[in-house]
Symmetry: C2
Subunit: 452 residues, 2 copies
């Protein structure tokens, strides 16, 4: 049995719906379908999720919102029209959308979550109607019905173990297609709460695990996951197969094709993931499989860089004799809810690498001041322009000299490498460069391993 | 003004004393002399410090000790005889040594410290007698007199800021030579307490700082500090000049020529250190200077490895999303008084490198069990056989491609490098190998930078 998930661009209009339905119905193993909200049809288009956010904000602000509602309903109507779905069948969807402002919400965060969730919900409902009209035995199933229980904040929820117990009890028959909205679950109190943005991937993975799928097919708008970002490297090679662990390491520094958090349920359930292109379902895409017994085809699987890093550099004579100094630094960071990425330490020096997305200038000042006061270093430097490049590959494990092949082309290109972190993971090497050199570094490493 | 310190082998017998006196009196700038206890005269000889420890242990155990005392006095008498010092002049030294068991000590640790300290103390006294007999204006000065106040445990003391205030008030005239025993200071309560073993280097550095010396000459039994350990590399090149910081990084992994803790007072007082050979005072030795405005002659200054490292490797999916997991690991270590050396971390992995000297098998078990319970990793591995090689050089700073020159010969020799830590310090790179490869790695790196 396969769980199939379609991204927003794959469900943006009638034509794309038709293509998705062709895919769903081409393989009788495809039994569970997870929908996203309709995405952009053209570059200047607005995603339905963004329209729903606008709708929620207008409701919260007490502003008129009817125009926005009309726009949203228009998107679903256009798809319905493509399949000649009678308007009466669509009426309950519009009605529900219009009713949302009258619901009771514990606070505006829950309101926002519930509004957002309807992009996926209405799309799943519409998909069910269309499939039924085409003669398929399709059933619209909601997180509410199966008990997809979540916890955490309303707009950044996470699945609970209870959800899996409840999914285990959910039964469906062999002939029916289940159509399930992505992106959200329900809290213990019965409120809607969404995963982080792009979270339909997560729903698909939860269902794949919870319903014991053999494969989780993730249909999106690219042919495959590539060895390097196509925006950086021209026509990079696609990755045919990689392990969960490789995907984790690559997504960390910026590979955003597959939602990071969506890996976990797949890993826990040992369900392979196939990332495929809705427009070219015949292409093999990228298969993400368990680590066990994996035979890597290449030494390097992927090279990726993220430019959003900064560092605090500390030098203090006899630093490593002061027991607990790392603890004190970590406590300062924890006090401000800042987590560190890496922390290479020397004898009298330590460099703390941070994700710039979680800090602003004022927080930097505060943290540096507190370190200065509590640790009293001889030197304290804030370095604002680091990029982290991850070179990942199960094939690198235990292979002597890979690091030389990675670093040699950088030296030839005159790229300074102030930071190297090898040894934490056995299947990746972290290279720290200045952000201006990050793309050059990725190209140099890519060409060393793939262009020859 | 120069502070001159002689090591134990440089003051082991009359002949060596004569050589030391020749050095002291050859330069009128050499005004403060710090003595060690007499060292070994032959390979099978016993150091006076070890005899004093034996003496202390016999006293503590209530065993007869007169034979040991006779042996100790014999060492000083032999030196005195070489210079025809009348026995009556030596009598107060023997008397003091014999009196020691009658002193009052707060506990046996203080007893041990006081006994040990007398190796240096009696040697300084004897040196003064000999210099006076030779017609020099020499004055025996003790830590008690100048107020060399220390704190900490009796056998591992550290200097207090107060000691420097008191040294500042200590006056001596231009014509006299001050002879000062190394290795110990006095506590606030007036008890003798020693520095860690080899601590006469520390005394010399404290006096160099406290008395505002222009140079601290450290006379020992080697011509210089070498780029690599002569036991590993044949005839390594001597280091003519290096910075305090380079010395710190090198001594960390095992360069033991100059006492690690002795660097700090020199750094604080900005006093250059000259490590020289007592037997070849005409040779330039190694000069250790402030970091500021230093012009490195070579790219690499030193390569050294230590084989006493182990690591705990942890893998857990989503490790880096668990805020505070590093804190929890560090708390477990802190609970057992174990400090970590390095902690390379990946996305879902962390490796904690530990000094094996501070842990035994049982403690390893306990710590691993606690980590398993509190962190619950998917994988936990204890790796027992790491060596750390430090490649150090101010000349490496901002130089592109040095890392390639370091790693290339290792790859050529088929040496696996499971750990690389670059970026903490700007003047060193840490290479982790398996202990069996450590010497081979040092030789390969040395020959790449120096033999060509």
């Amino acid at each position: 049995m396969k769980v199939v998930k379609f991204g927003g661009s794959s469900l943006a209009d009638g034509e794309h719906f038709a293509q998705a339905i062709k895919i769903i119905t081409a393989d009788p193993q495809r039994r569970v379908v997870v929908t996203s909200a309709p995405g952009k049809r053209t570059a200047n288009d607005t995603k339905v999720t963004d329209l729903l956010i606008k709708y929620a904000q207008q409701v919260i602000a007490g502003q008129p919102f009817q125009e926005t509602v009309t726009q949203i309903i228009g998107r679903y109507t256009a798809i319905a029209d493509y399949f000649n779905v009678p308007r009466t069948k669509l009426a309950p969807l519009a009605e529900r959308l219009n009713e949302l402002p009258n619901w009771h919400f514990p606070n505006n965060n829950y309101l926002l979550a519930a509004f957002k969730a309807h992009g996926e919900r209405l799309n799943a409902q519409l998909m069910t109607i269309i499939l039924q009209q085409l003669g398929y035995e399709a059933r619209f199933v909601t997180p509410e019905q199966v008990g997809l229980r979540v916890t955490g904040t309303p707009n950044n929820a996470s699945v609970t173990p209870e959800a899996y117990s409840l999914l285990d009890r959910f039964s469906f028959n062999d002939s029916e297609l289940l159509i399930f909205p992505g992106f959200y679950g329900i809290t213990l109190a019965g409120h809607l709460a969404t995963f982080s943005r792009g979270g339909s991937d997560i729903t698909g993975a939860i269902l794949a695990r919870g319903l014991h799928a053999d494969l989780y097919e993730n249909f999106t708008d690219v042919d495959a996951i590539y060895v390097a970002n196509p925006a950086v490297v021209d026509h990079p090679q696609p990755i045919a197969k990689m392990t969960y662990r490789e995907m984790r390491e690559l997504s960390y520094a910026g590979f955003s094709v597959f939602h990071d958090e969506a890996l976990i349920p797949a890993i826990q359930g040992n369900v392979p993931i196939n990332v495929k292109n809705t427009q070219h379902p015949e292409k093999p895409g990228t298969l993400i499989v368990p680590d066990k017994n994996f035979q890597p085809a290449d030494i390097v699987t992927g090279v990726v860089s993220g430019k959003h890093f900064a560092a605090i550099y500390l030098h203090k004579y006899l630093l490593n004799k002061e027991t607990g100094f790392t603890l004190r630094i970590l406590n300062i960071l924890a006090r401000h809810n800042v987590s560190y990425e890496h922390m290479p330490s020397g004898i009298d020096d330590i460099t703390i690498i941070l994700d710039k997305n979680q800090i602003d200038d004022q927080l930097v000042d505060t943290i540096c001041n507190e370190i200065q006061e509590e640790i009293n270093p001889d030197q304290l430097e804030w370095i604002d322009n680091y990029a982290i490049t991850m070179v990942v590959g199960e094939g690198m494990r235990n292979r002597i000299g890979v690091i030389n092949d990675i670093l040699a082309p950088l030296a030839e290109d005159g790229i300074p490498v102030p930071i190297i972190n090898q040894g934490a993971s056995r299947i990746s090497i972290m290279i720290g460069t200045y952000d201006r050199d990050a793309d050059k570094a990725v190209r140099a490493i890519y060409h060393r391993f793939f262009a020859n």
